[in-house]
């Protein structure tokens, strides 16, 4: 079978298997059939994963798969860009299905499996369809399938909080879908049969206002789905609510589908993005990432921390995209493609580690029955294997060597340094801001991930649930470990990841003024190809670890280890006296109080008017207004206000309605004549 045949069979096969999975899940009354449904889900994912890998590794040209007549005739097409995202989707959904096999059964009381299994299949199918659609109508259809199924998945546990979060999510998702519909309508001239590729052709004919409107609407649709600030407020509410394997799909893949949409539309419609839009994307991405990473350090629920971290990472992705577009528009295509390559590597790495972390959070939730970080602790002794995998994933998310996200950051920083060599003030200024921002984000992300891991897994358990937790069963543990290993492999083998990515990884040309240095001295560093460095770094780290371990072994032979209780100054301590996650990030909250703060008001009043020394103090403390209060609620208030005005029309008086009809008729006649 050639690679082309594999792709042509594997991708429709995956969709078909998922349809069967949805049917089996709907029909299932017992665990047997449900397991069949999970097996079908996994089989579909495996088939799709193999097909997309075959497409990428064989470097196939864009392939037409099928042209179903019901979707207005536009065929399904797979190319390098969509195959990359298909690979992420199928890889993560394979792990999610493996995890859900056991998790779905054990948590059946909380998340009704007859709802979750078929909806998960529809959700995956929706993302699959979005990636393959070449027609605008099917793109929109599958986009909606993805949004609506994930909306129901968010409220799968049926609690009031989940419903609220899901409704917020639905509102944003539908606003985005509406914007997309209108945007495509404007671009495509209102035709339902238009293909995506044709959207760009009519663009020059549009008046500038319509063009900007369409650009704005499409950008809003994709960035709101991907959680770019300030449209991110739904994300940390909605993602943690879904069952963990669905959270993994949402954070690991669905956000990337939005990135895919943005890339697809910009590559078709605006190959040269105007500077203003690039700068806005970069600024919003970086600013949102900064706020998100600080929020990740304040959040107190594991899955919420992870959701904030997703906002941060996607913000970084948008910042990279914006900077790449800027560099491209200013005539530095090598720089642009280098940054774009780093962005794809980051997207890849984020899908792996975020899916792994969400699945791991699910395993923790499964064992300890709580995701509140202040109620956890002590799990490293109780779940040593899971904790090892989670430590690796946390380091990968940090981003630290030798994991994938670090390799992406590495490439990005090289490109940013190269941007200083362009000598263009705009590029250098944005590059300097991004460099500082990326380093700041890296530091804060390390803080957040250390906090997440340490307060979940270390010290003494702070609740009965955590105390009684045990190592999760292998089906819950193994997908986490596999994703951790995949993240490690991506980090180590990053230079050779190009065949999997939509564009090859390159190193930006570096033409900064060379110092008058002896050539021999420079050869030592310049000769080694930069691309091999991640592997070398990983090997060197491993070597250093072995050396350090051997040093400890040789210098302290026959090491005696005695276990006693933690040093307590003679006064027994217990878990309630431990440092808490809130306390851990207290210095950070204090240092960054100007960015994200709680509002604290201290009021002192004299007890006796003549005595200035004796005062009565009171303190007021509340969470500062976030995006919800500042942006979402005013919009909601505006819409409600308009609705209230419009309600005046609907006053139930029949004569008024007749009068309205008469006025409408007269107006129509006046316009028509």
């Amino acid at each position: 079978m050639t690679a082309g045949q594999a792709v042509a069979a594997g991708l429709p096969g995956a969709a078909l298997l998922w349809v069967f999975a949805a049917i089996a899940g709907l029909a299932a009354r017992g665990p047997r059939v449900r397991q069949l449904a999970h097996a079908l889900l996994a089989a579909g994912s495996a088939s799709g994963l193999l097909a997309s890998l075959a497409h990428q590794l064989a470097a196939l040209p864009p392939l037409k798969l099928a042209a179903p007549p019901i979707l207005f005739g536009a065929p399904f097409v797979v190319d390098r860009l969509s195959a990359f995202f298909l690979m992420l989707l199928h890889g993560v959904s394979l792990m999610a299905a493996w995890f859900g096999w056991r998790y779905g059964e054990d948590e059946a009381a909380k998340y009704p499996p007859r709802l979750v299994v078929p909806l998960t299949a529809v959700f995956c199918l929706g993302m699959h369809g979005v990636l393959l659609s070449s027609g605008a109508a099917s793109f929109l259809l599958f986009w909606e399938a993805m949004s609506v199924s994930s909306f129901f998945l968010v409220m799968a546990d049926g609690t009031a909080d989940s419903r609220k979060a899901a409704l917020l999510y639905l509102a944003v998702a539908q606003a985005g879908a509406l914007a997309l519909l209108v945007g495509i309508g404007v671009l495509g001239g209102g035709s339902a049969r238009v293909t995506l590729a044709a959207l760009g052709t009519g663009l020059p004919a549009l008046p500038p206002a319509s063009r900007t409107l369409a650009l704005g609407l499409v950008a809003f649709a994709f960035t709101s789905k991907a959680g770019l600030a300030p449209f991110h407020a739904w994300l940390p509410e909605a993602h943690p609510r879904a069952p963990s394997q669905v959270s993994a799909l949402m954070s690991g893949v669905m956000l990337k589908i939005a990135v895919y949409g943005l890339l697809r539309f910009t590559s078709i419609c605006w190959p040269a993005l105007p500077d203003g839009w690039s700068l806005a994307l970069a600024a919003l991405g970086l600013g949102g990432a900064v706020v998100a990473v600080i929020s990740a350090n304040i959040a107190r629920d594991i899955k919420r921390i992870l959701a904030w971290s997703s906002v941060e990472n996607l913000g970084l992705v948008f910042a990279m995209f914006g900077f790449s577009a800027l560099a491209g528009a200013h005539g530095h295509p090598r720089l642009a493609s280098a940054i774009l390559g780093a962005m794809f590597l980051h997207v890849f790495a984020h899908a792996l580690f975020k899916a792994g972390l969400f699945l791991g959070a699910g395993a923790v939730l499964h064992g300890a029955h709580t995701a509140k970080i202040e109620d956890l602790g002590g799990l490293a002794n109780r779940m040593p294997r899971l904790s090892a995998a989670m430590l690796a994933l946390a380091l990968a998310a940090a981003p630290l060597p030798p994991f994938g996200a670090f390799a992406a950051e590495w490439l990005l920083v090289e490109s940013l340094l190269a941007s200083f060599g362009t000598g263009e003030l705009l590029l250098v200024a944005v590059g300097a801001v991004l460099l500082t921002g990326v380093a700041f984000l890296a530091g804060m992300a390390v803080f957040a991930m250390v906090r997440l891991f340490a307060f979940t897994f270390l010290a003494e358990p702070r609740s009965a649930g955590a105390r009684l937790a045990a190592e999760p069963p292998a089906p819950l543990r193994s997908p986490v470990a596999v994703l951790a290993l995949a993240g490690l492999a991506l980090g180590v083998l990053a230079p050779w990841a190009s065949p999997l990515l939509p564009i090859p990884l390159t190193r930006a040309a570096w033409t900064v003024s060379a110092p008058p240095a002896p050539a021999a001295a420079r050869a030592a560093t310049a000769a080694a190809p930069v691309s091999a460095l991640p592997l070398a770094l990983a090997a060197a780290l491993a070597g250093a670890l072995v050396c350090a371990w051997l040093a400890g072994r040789l210098l302290a032979p026959g090491r005696r280890v005695r276990r006693v209780r933690t040093w307590d100054c003679g006064q027994p301590i217990d878990a309630t006296m431990e440092y808490t996650a809130t306390g851990f990030s207290a210095p950070l909250r204090f240092f960054l109080r100007d960015i994200v703060t709680a509002e604290k008001h201290l009021v002192f009043s004299r007890v006796h008017p003549a005595n200035p020394w004796i005062t009565r103090g009171s303190m007021e403390f509340r969470k500062a207004a976030g995006a919800v209060e500042r942006i979402y609620l005013p919009i909601a208030g505006f819409i409600e206000g308009v609705g209230a005005r419009l309600k005046l029309l609907q006053n139930g008086v029949i004569q008024f309605y007749v009068a309205l009809m008469l006025v409408t008729l007269m107006l129509t006649l006046w316009v028509a004549l």
Binding site: R562, R565, W567, G570
Partner: protein
């Protein structure tokens, strides 16, 4: 500082063990033979005590001994020149300096400190209270001398012993062990 003195004081061997002068007051307070054997084993295992880190444990003293221990760190006595230093955790300690007659409420804490310190660990009873129980001996509130709770290797009597006494006592004990 003259170079010769600098070099000498940088030498590998701290001055503590090799002072050569005999302590003034401590003729009768040499460690008991069985303690001496234990101490000898410890000190020879720790490179002759070139670097010893001290954790001070208050087991109910009047604070007089603490004042003297604090004085050890000042520029006059400067025990750091002897390779000794005070540390913040018994986990780091090679020497526990226990002061005070062990009162009942602190006996557990003293025991816990001893358990918390990695062996081998030298225990020094500083002051009359720690050595014998002193005037509190037999009181209902007091367990008694330190050696009724944990093994003691060196005893430095005095109420309180002066910093000089403490240094000499330590020197004598360690030298006796060598």
């Amino acid at each position: 500082m003259p170079l010769a003195r600098l070099l000498r004081s940088s030498a590998l061997r701290p001055r503590l063990v090799g002072t050569g002068r005999s302590p003034r007051h401590l003729g009768g307070d040499r460690p008991a033979p069985e303690d001496a054997a234990a101490l000898r084993a410890i000190v020879s295992g720790l490179y002759g005590g070139r670097s010893l880190r001290i954790r001070a444990v208050d087991a109910g003293s009047t604070n007089a001994e603490e004042l003297e221990l604090t004085a050890l760190g000042n520029a006059y006595y400067d025990i750091e020149r002897l390779g000794l230093s005070f540390v913040a955790s018994p986990r780091h300690a090679d020497v526990l300096m226990v002061t005070g007659p062990v009162v009942r409420n602190l006996a557990g804490a003293l025991r816990a400190t001893y358990d918390a310190a990695p062996s081998p660990c030298i225990v020094v009873a500083v002051g009359d209270g720690a050595c014998t129980g002193s005037i509190w001996k037999g009181s209902y509130a007091v367990v008694g001398a330190v050696d009724e709770v944990i093994p003691v290797h060196i005893r430095i009597p005095g109420d309180p012993p002066s910093p000089d006494d403490i240094i000499r006592g330590l020197a004598a004990g360690l030298r006796g062990a060598r």
